[in-house]
Amino acid sequence: MKNQAFFAYTVLVCALLLASPTLFVFFSWLSPQWQTWQHIVDNLLTDYFINTFALALGVGVFTAIAGTLAAWFVSQFEFHGRKVMQWCLLLPLAIPAYINAYTYSGMLDYFGVVQTLTRELFGSSSWVPEIQSLPGAIFVMSLVLFPYVYALALVAFSQLPQSHYEVAKNHGKTEGQFFVKIALPLAFPAIFAGAMLSIMEAFAEYGVVDYFGVPTLTTGVFKVWFGMGDRLAAAQLSALMVSFILFLLLLEHYARRKQKLFSNKVLKSISRRPISKTSTALGVYMFLISLLALAFVFPVTQLLYWAYLSILAQIDYELLSLLLNSFKVAIVAACAVTLLCVFMSALARFLNRSTTNLGIKIVSLGYAFPGAVIAVGAMIVLSTMDRQINVFTQWLFEDKVGLILSGSLFALIFAYVVRFATVGLQYVQSGYLTISPHMEEAAQSLGKSKMQIFTKVHIPILSPTLAAATLVVFVDVLKELPATLILRPFNFNTLSVKTYELASDERLTDASVPALLIILIGLIPVVLIGRNKIIDA
């Protein structure tokens, strides 16, 4: 029993370690940087607020509308190419928003394909909208984020009971009335949760807003950290962001709690109907095809064209080292996340105490926090630890070891683990749901110890889930930009950082190959997991 308490606290300690960067940005307020804040409040904060909230709101509204409509069409109606369309609509998830931003900038600038074409056709291209703006940021971000809403709404719409539809028809309701009065209210919690995920991504986004020159709280953190060199004020600004996000999480938690109310019953789920009117069918096709074209086909085609122009110049030793660097950190971080999550989940499962469950809850919050905030927090935590270590080694060996934590790859990997532990945990926890407690009890009554249950029952049953978790975290790490920019050791470049640097230097053509590599790798989990998930649902 003493052992149990020890292990239960281990889980909590792991959770607190993962939460430490986020907690430390709050502690930064212990020594407020009034001078820097004076400047921030006078000159920057209003813009930061307006832009951040407009961006979040815009992305939330657009992803909700596009995702809901797309999910409604493919879940309710039967038409040619529906099945292909159903999973193609997940593909935009593979494109990081910042790559979409670079690509659209290229497509829409003066020498880009759109303006060139309109000049040839109409003589003038002055009416082509400026993409490097707040509406432009909302546009490119919504295009890659709507699949969050789409995936959740698709599941909710597919689970609508057939009987609901028949009752509506019996009472003389039209398709439109069924959608508005029955389907939408029932699926609302799922749609809301999906929109919330997009909003939190929009909140955390750095690459897009930095490139488009739209100052938000995230670019503010960078500006204060690097531009003004005031790390504490950067942390304090981060704390402000974290407070907003905690509020959003609360809203999301509330929406998800309501979602549970109707998802448990096993009823015959709704079957797809043919579309009766040709004009309606045409409209549906137009909507779905243009959504997919804007979100995936156009940007990928543009990138492929750029790559075609410059492929020979780009495939070189540097690209190989970029790939190696990216893979190295991503594999280490992904394995660390999976191991940590299995360790925590297994203990939580066996002990089932309030301590362990609290630990799991703390880790579940992590994904919501922006990479920039986590990087700032991690830097503070690790440099504090470095100082202590150096004081200690100075005293012991009369020598300093330097910045062994904050100045090395350790900092980067630690930040990745903190940022993506939630993703791994979600997978591992959902894997554990497939193991019924009765299986453990059966094993126990057959004379097996806890360790044997873990190795002989848990691990074999979980193994596909663990592989999926590792893969998803691997890809997330590979795509990650803001934390990598802040924490990478000097001269250490990854695919995402290189893409960012080349795009910032307006070398979009040269950025295309690393960008395509990121998208290609990003497609693996979308195709493997997304497809299964949708079909299962």
Binding site: S436, A442, S445, L446, G447, K456, V457, P460
Partner: protein, 364 residues
């Protein structure tokens, strides 16, 4: 006799609330017991306490004379040598049928070698009638087959006691009966002591040698099916088991009770003369007899194939004049199970005769 399992004054519960209190029962070696009760009666919790998955809050559980659970002692489930079967089968999806069955014997010295284990698996498969299924995947089996694999897995290590937690309730009705007969035969043939948990009294009666009726937070009666039905110890058991009605009676003397259906004989009662009592009448105690002068109004006919269950109302008129003095005002109902060839569909009353073999009387 050789007691395998004994519960002495056992109470179980969650946190502050007790679910079942002061349970006393003993199971002999080779006997099959049953815990029967409605949902929430605590039958499963009691079973889980025997398995070691739930603590006891009072009393002691002993297996083969050794205390395995009490407030001071606790033997971990993996060391109890008690097998368990579940409603959801709980087979391991990543293992084949053969590997599932071998799961519990792989560490035992007796089955160290591959050949010994394989031998045992084949022996178990033939016992449960699944020869040739050794390498099948669990997903490829039907529900009944899965439960037979679960049985083979549970008894392969030769447990001292087998616990079955509603093992048939996820199967359809026909399969459920067949499988319960098959499993009972296997247990009896192997001499395995077992405890079944169920809410289905027919299942309890056909499966178990002795049944504990759980209700109102305790074991009401631990007895054979015959005794539970014909000699219930209290009104709860009488009501819970089988069908029947209570009619009012008045004690005439030490062996006679006057009722609306005539005077009944019970030599063992210890009620005072002229006190009012409830008399239990089972549907088979009330016989249809056209020669009987006693007629009762038919309230409901429930056609059941071989029989018809009549719900009869006893009114003042239906009873002979000599008994009218003993009657109370309210209307009483009894059930009568009659041969279905004479459904008496045109009549509104039925001639009945009362012939209880056991007159069961409870205080009113």
């Amino acid at each position: 006799m050789n007691t395998i399992l004994e519960l002495r004054d056992v109470s179980v519960g969650y946190d502050q609330s007790t679910i079942v209190k002061h349970v006393n029962l003993a199971l002999e070696k080779g006997e099959i017991g049953c815990l029967l009760g409605a949902s929430g009666s605590g039958k499963s919790t009691l079973l889980r306490a025997i398995a070691g998955f739930h603590p006891v809050s009072e009393g002691a559980i002993s297996l083969k004379g050794k205390v395995i659970a009490s407030t001071s002692e606790f033997v971990a489930p993996e060391h109890r040598h008690v097998g368990m079967m579940f409603q959801d089968f709980a087979l391991f999806p990543h293992l084949t049928v053969g590997q599932n069955i071998a799961f519990g014997i792989s560490d035992s010295p007796e089955f160290k070698t591959q050949e010994r284990r394989r031998e045992k698996v084949l022996e178990m498969l033939s016992l449960v009638g699944l020869e040739g299924f050794e390498n099948r995947s669990i997903h490829a089996l039907s529900g009944g087959q899965q439960q037979r694999v679960a049985l083979a897995r549970a008894i392969a290590p030769q447990p001292d006691l087998l616990l079955l937690d509603e093992p048939f309730s996820s199967l359809d009705t026909d399969l459920r009966k067949d499988l319960s007969y098959q499993i009972r035969d296997i247990l009896k043939q192997q001499g395995i002591s077992a405890i079944l948990v169920t809410h289905d009294q027919n299942e309890a009666f056909s499966f178990a040698d002795k049944t504990a009726v759980l209700g109102e937070q305790s074991v009401q009666q631990w007895d054979t099916a015959y005794n539970l039905y014909h000699m219930p110890v209290n009104a709860f058991v009488a009501d819970f088991i089988g069908e029947g009605c209570f009619i009012e009676g008045t004690i005439v003397d030490e062996d006679k009770i006057a009722t609306a259906l005539g005077v009944l004989i019970n030599e063992n009662h210890d009620f005072e003369v002229s006190s009012k009592v409830n008399v239990l009448l089972r549907p088979d105690d009330v016989l249809h007899d056209d020669k009987s002068p006693l007629r009762a109004k038919i309230v409901k006919r429930d056609f059941r194939g071989a029989n018809v269950m009549f719900t009869l109302e006893l009114s003042q008129d239906s009873v002979g004049t000599e008994q009218k003095g003993n009657l109370h005002e309210s209307v009483e109902q009894v059930l009568c199970l009659a041969n279905s060839h004479h459904i008496h569909s045109s009549e509104d009353s039925l001639a009945v005769r009362i012939a209880p073999e056991h007159v069961i009387v409870f205080a009113k």
